[in-house]
């Protein structure tokens, strides 16, 4: 049975890959646009079916398959393969599900695109699905890194989908560079781990952690470097700056890659390698602290952002940090639960936002208003997503967030708990702020042409909304939080409601003036910092332009004008010297004969003086 599971998992992996190969190699097919989309959608749908079958009817036991990849003298140096267990089964379903819905949605969302562009888009999507599935199936750090980079590549390509927009090009490159910075820590970390243990595979590493071979000396550094990979990919402070810019990509891409799946790879990796992180408590402490800090930081930025996609992006950063904080506090299960639920409702929110943008043609929430009347369907599903994210029961966000708060409280990290609680409040606030401003507030522009999304976009939205509600109900009935103290449940609810009330008061009822609120100390300080994104973007731009490019120009100058200059100096001296000596060559044969004669003379004299000696 385990073999059957493994085969199913490989089929799930192979289907999108086959679609990618087909689209990548067969150029006429790719240039047909919608047909390419259908190829990719069919492949992912088939993959979803197999993944669901695996989740519901699989053997349930763990299965690992390994094949040698890098040969070595005594057995392979590294292997690739697949691991089927609780984590990967659930992720397979999530990834294929969201992928499928997003791809269907894209057919409607991008219907105005040129056929070759659309074909390219779906080829990237197929590659992404393959890479993400490969990532979740990874039985080793190395394979995880391989697919980790591939999903990064897809993210880069899809952010830059509108490649002739300078802002999109810039955002794509920025995303790649910044995640790459973390990834290099990741690869250095796994190389160090390999040097110390001789393997990349999780199973032997976990065994070593169990028997106590791990931690070895310097293990903390190794795990810290590996964690850096997650910092980049899951947008933790200070490498979170790429994610808001990544919203330059098409909205479905943001839903799939920058909300539901790829950005969770960091969380997934830390969850997967949790047995190793446990052996490095310092790193775990750091993960929790950075997670809580980033959660709050991103939430404050979300509160002041006017671009609907950017609000969602900051919210993603914040929610990812929630998961990280949970893992750092020793409750990876809660973090993983939040990962799954967040994947559902954040995809819903992004796709809903896409529908809104599609309808009104702007991203700025203050140029929207009363959209609920114009777009009732979209408004409803967006409301479902908002309620889920804000943590209103019985939607899943409430349960997973509550599980995290419980876990963090029980781990005794009160500081982290307080920060996360505050963030939960802010989350409710900024989500309802969007809701009120965009959907219920005053209309700023007439929307004669605004209408609900076409079916290809609406169906995925309703499916996601339905699944969100279902997941919430299942969690409510499952009652997984058996040891959650009642006061905590109440606190969670109270925080969400408080956020709702404040948003209502500030943006709907006008009881409190938002601007007045923002200008009172110390909120004014936070407000102005958050609006300037805590100067982090400026800092990175300065480091890039000033330090890195400046230094490279210096090196380039040195190379060209000093290292090479010295050489040219020598050759110029040679040329000049040749010029000087040229005068000797008079061109007259007799002058040369004088040389011969003197040579003869010298030879004879030398012979006399030296050969004569006894």
């Amino acid at each position: 049975m385990a073999a059957q599971d493994l085969r199913d998992a490989l089929v799930v992996l192979a289907l999108p890959f086959a679609a990618f190969l087909l689209l990548g190699v067969v150029r006429p097919l790719r240039r047909r646009g919608r047909l390419a989309g259908i190829v990719s959608i069919v492949a992912v749908a088939a993959a979803l079916v197999v993944a669901v079958r695996l989740e519901l009817f699989g053997a349930g036991s763990d299965a690992v398959g390994l094949w040698p990849w890098l040969p070595g003298d005594g057995g392979p140096m590294a292997s690739v393969g697949a691991v089927v267990d609780v984590l990967s089964r659930k992720m397979l379903v999530l990834v294929t599900l969201v992928s499928l819905l997003v791809q269907i949605y894209s057919l409607g969302y991008l219907h105005e695109e040129s056929a070759p562009g659309l074909g390219r888009y779906f080829a990237y999507h197929a590659l992404f699905a393959f890479s993400m599935l490969g990532l979740v199936l990874s039985p080793s750090f190395l394979q995880m890194f391989i697919f980790w980079e591939l999903v990064g590549l897809c993210s880069y390509l899809l952010i830059g989908y509108y490649y002739d927009r300078p802002s999109a090009a810039r955002a794509a490159v920025k995303a790649f560079w910044i995640t790459r910075l973390g990834d290099l820590g990741f690869v250095a970390g796994i190389v160090m781990l390999w040097a110390a243990t001789g393997t990349f595979d999780f199973a032997p590493l976990f065994a070593m952690a169990k028997e106590g071979t791990i931690p070895f000396e310097g293990f903390g550094l190794v795990m810290f470097l590996i964690y850096l990979g997650a910092v980049g990919k899951s947008a933790q402070f200070p490498l979170h700056v790429w994610l808001p810019d990544a919203m330059e990509g098409p909205t479905p891409v943001s839903a799939l890659i920058h909300a539901a799946t790829m950005v969770t790879a960091g969380v997934f990796m830390v969850t997967r390698a949790y047995p190793l992180f446990v052996a490095a408590p310092d790193v775990l402490w750091l993960i929790g602290t950075v997670g809580a800090f980033t959660a709050l930081l991103a939430a404050t930025m979300a509160c002041v952002e006017n671009d609907i996609k950017r609000v969602l992006a900051y919210s993603t950063v914040s929610q990812l940090s929630f998961m990280m904080a949970a893992i750092g506090s020793g409750v990876p299960r809660a973090g993983f639960l939040h990962l799954l639920t967040h994947g559902l409702f954040k995809a819903l929110l992004f796709l809903g936002a896409g529908a809104v943008i599609h309808a009104v043609g702007t991203n700025d929430i203050f140029r929207m208003g009363r959209l609920f009347r114009a777009l009732p369907g979209t408004g409803t599903v967006f409301l479902v997503g908002t309620l889920a994210l804000a943590g209103i029961p019985p939607l899943p966000g409430f349960f997973s967030k509550e599980a995290i708060l419980t876990g963090v409280w029980e781990s005794g990290r009160t500081g982290v708990f307080a920060v996360l609680a505050l963030t939960a409040f802010l989350t409710a606030f900024y989500m309802f702020r969007v809701m009120f401003v965009a959907f219920f507030g005053r209309a700023h522009a007439p929307y004669e042409h605004a209408h609900d999304a076409p079916p290809s976009m609406a169906v995925p939205l309703w499916v996601l909304a339905g699944l969100t509600v279902l997941a919430g109900l299942r969690l409510a009935m499952g009652g997984g939080e058996e040891h959650a103290p009642p006061w905590l449940l109440a606190l969670s609810l109270a925080l969400a409601v408080a956020g709702f009330v404040l948003a209502w008061a500030a943006y709907q009822a006008g009881v409190v003036s938002a601007s007045a609120l923002a200008s009172t100390f110390p909120l004014s300080l936070v407000d102005s910092l958050a609006r300037r994104r805590y100067f982090l973007d400026a800092l990175y731009a300065g480091l890039y332009r000033g330090v890195m490019l400046g230094f490279s120009r210096l090196i380039g100058w040195i190379d060209r004008y000093l290292v090479d200059g010295l050489l040219n100096f020598l050759s110029a001296c040679t040329l000049r010297g040749g010029d000087l000596l040229r005068g000797i060559q008079s061109g007259r044969a007799q002058d040369y004969l004088y040389g011969v004669a003197f040579g003869l003379l010298a030879l004879v004299v030398w012979a006399q003086l030296w050969l004569r000696r006894p």
């Binding site: 590549l153 490649y163 002739d164 290099l184 100058w557 004008y561």
Partner: protein
């Protein structure tokens, strides 16, 4: 299969087939440009097919030098025509075949004196093959010179001149020497490489004499044991001599000028294969013949390689001429090659050899693409370009794949090479080498993507019109190279299995039992 290859003297055929092609081109194809190209294609195809067959037939269990051939040339001096390949040289032969196969197609559009161009190119290739397959140091050196000298004519006649402004304290020297012109580049490259080969020749003779002056055979010299002091000096001579060709800092400055000025196929071959020839020389002759010296001098090799990696990448970032960017990236990657070799670990040495291969293919692809862009846009100035992706999507895609391989993205061969080098670096006696290696890949990501973004992305540049994608034979070159990058990136053991059979015994000799 193996018997068949041995019977037809496969290595000799691989080596001399391009030379025969060159002769045929010179004597039969006058004023028939198509015939020139067909002869060239056929002669390199013979080599390519045979090297793929040899690669497949190589006995991975037996290891050692296979497809061995020997014929005495000058018996009194112990000079013989002795050929054989092990895992390392086999991969290099395959690389040479791939690059020249693509190179013939990439230079399909050479218009001036194409007869002489192809003849020289093919003669050069014979030299390269000869270096990789010959086991007699004297013959090795002859082939080495054959591989270096035609370069002068190829760059001097078919090259293109760049634009270097004389600045800095040596500005007058720049005006004096004509920096930037193709003649300058050709002369610089040739002088540098001949300067290096003088060291190599001295080293070869030193070994020959101190081993009893009876044989130039690599196998005999390998069996001899040399005095450690002599080993150190000869190792340094080999390191400098071959290192110049491999672009070691600070003797690398011939490479940007030379590669930037050279015509497409020559840049491909030079950066793709000839620079590897330098690294191959250090590994094969330096480390293979002088194990004690190798063990005691790797700190130098590795240290300089670290400078190469970071310095080359930073220099590449500062360039505004597209060809110079690629040329400096070669300097950086050759640093990784040398670094991998200097780690003296199985992973590192495998990584080094694999990097030679991966970088060869990748930089070949780069130069082919840059040549195409130059041919269509008549410019190499990066910051005047923009938005080419719309007009030339194929070139843009291939450039991106090459760039991704260059920055070590998984699923490309560059990743495997870099990963193995990292593994070797951290496992070596100098773990800190990991830091510049990793930093180098990050810097590579910065400059490669920056250049790709500038050229292919963004709004179309107003300076260019009538751009078009690659066409016809040019696609052959691009597709072959891209396919090799991806296939070897996905299945590295294709290359690593034979390489491993050569590196493990080599390491055993250096590190002792």
């Amino acid at each position: 299969m193996t018997d068949f290859l041995v019977r037809i003297h496969a290595l000799s055929v691989i080596t001399w087939s391009p030379f025969v092609g060159a002769l045929l081109i010179m004597f039969t194809a006058r004023r028939h440009p198509l015939a020139v190209r067909l002869i060239a294609t056929v002669s390199v195809s013979v080599s390519t097919v045979l090297s793929i067959l040899a690669y497949a037939a190589y006995n991975r269990d037996a290891a050692g030098f296979q497809f061995y051939e020997k014929a005495p040339l000058v018996e009194q001096l112990g000079i013989g025509y002795e050929l054989g390949v092990d895992g390392i040289s086999l991969l290099m032969v395959l690389l040479t075949s791939i690059i020249i196969f693509a190179g013939v197609f990439a230079s399909w559009t050479v218009a001036t004196r194409s007869q002489e161009f192809y003849a020289l190119l093919l003669a050069l290739v014979t030299g390269v093959y000869g270096v990789f397959v010959s086991l007699d140091l004297f013959v090795f050196f002859l082939f080495y010179e054959l591989a270096v000298l035609p370069m002068y004519l190829l760059i001097g006649i078919w090259g293109s001149s760049g634009d270097v402004r004389p600045r800095g304290i040596f500005a007058w020297a720049y005006r004096e020497t004509g920096v930037g012109s193709k003649e300058y580049a050709a002369m610089k490259l040739t002088l540098y490489l001949l300067f290096g080969s003088a060291f190599i020749l001295v080293g070869i003779f030193a070994l020959y004499v101190s081993a009893g002056a009876t044989s130039f055979s690599f196998l005999d010299l390998e069996a001899a044991s040399f005095d450690p002091r002599l080993q150190r000096w000869v190792f340094l001579a080999f390191y400098v001599g071959f290192g110049i060709l491999a672009g070691i800092w600070p003797l690398h400055t011939w490479s940007p000028d030379g590669h930037a000025s050279a015509p497409t196929a020559v840049s491909m071959l030079h950066a793709g294969v000839l620079m590897k020839l330098g690294a191959y020389g250090v590994v094969r002759m330096g480390m293979g013949l002088l194990p004690d010296a190798a063990a005691s001098l790797v700190w130098l090799v590795g240290g300089i390689a670290c400078i190469n990696v970071v310095y080359g990448a930073l220099s590449a970032m500062a360039q505004v001429d597209l060809k110079y960017v690629i040329a400096y990236s070669s300097v950086s990657h050759m640093g990784l090659v040398m670094l991998g070799a200097a780690t003296l670990t199985e992973a590192g040495l495998n990584g080094s050899v694999f990097q030679m291969f991966a970088h060869g293919v990748m930089t070949g692809l780069f130069f082919a693409l840059v040549g195409l862009v130059y041919e269509k846009a008549h410019s190499r100035a990066i910051f005047s370009m923009g938005g080419f992706g719309r007009a030339m999507p194929g070139i843009a895609t291939a450039f991106t794949i090459g760039g991704l391989s260059s920055l070590g993205l998984p699923a490309t061969s560059g990743f495997v090479a870099e990963l193995l080098t990292f593994m070797g670096a951290w496992a070596s006696a100098h773990p800190w080498w990991l830091v510049p290696a990793v930093a180098g890949t990050f810097l590579t990501a910065v400059y490669v993507l920056r250049v790709a973004k500038q050229i292919f992305w963004g709004p179309p540049s107003p300076h260019f019109s009538h751009l078009e994608d690659a066409k016809g034979p040019e696609w052959v070159a691009i597709v072959v190279l891209v396919a090799v990058i991806v296939v070897f990136g996905l299945l590295p053991s294709l290359a690593l299995a034979p390489v491993d059979t050569a590196t493990v015994p080599l390491l055993a000799r250096i590190l002792g039992p």
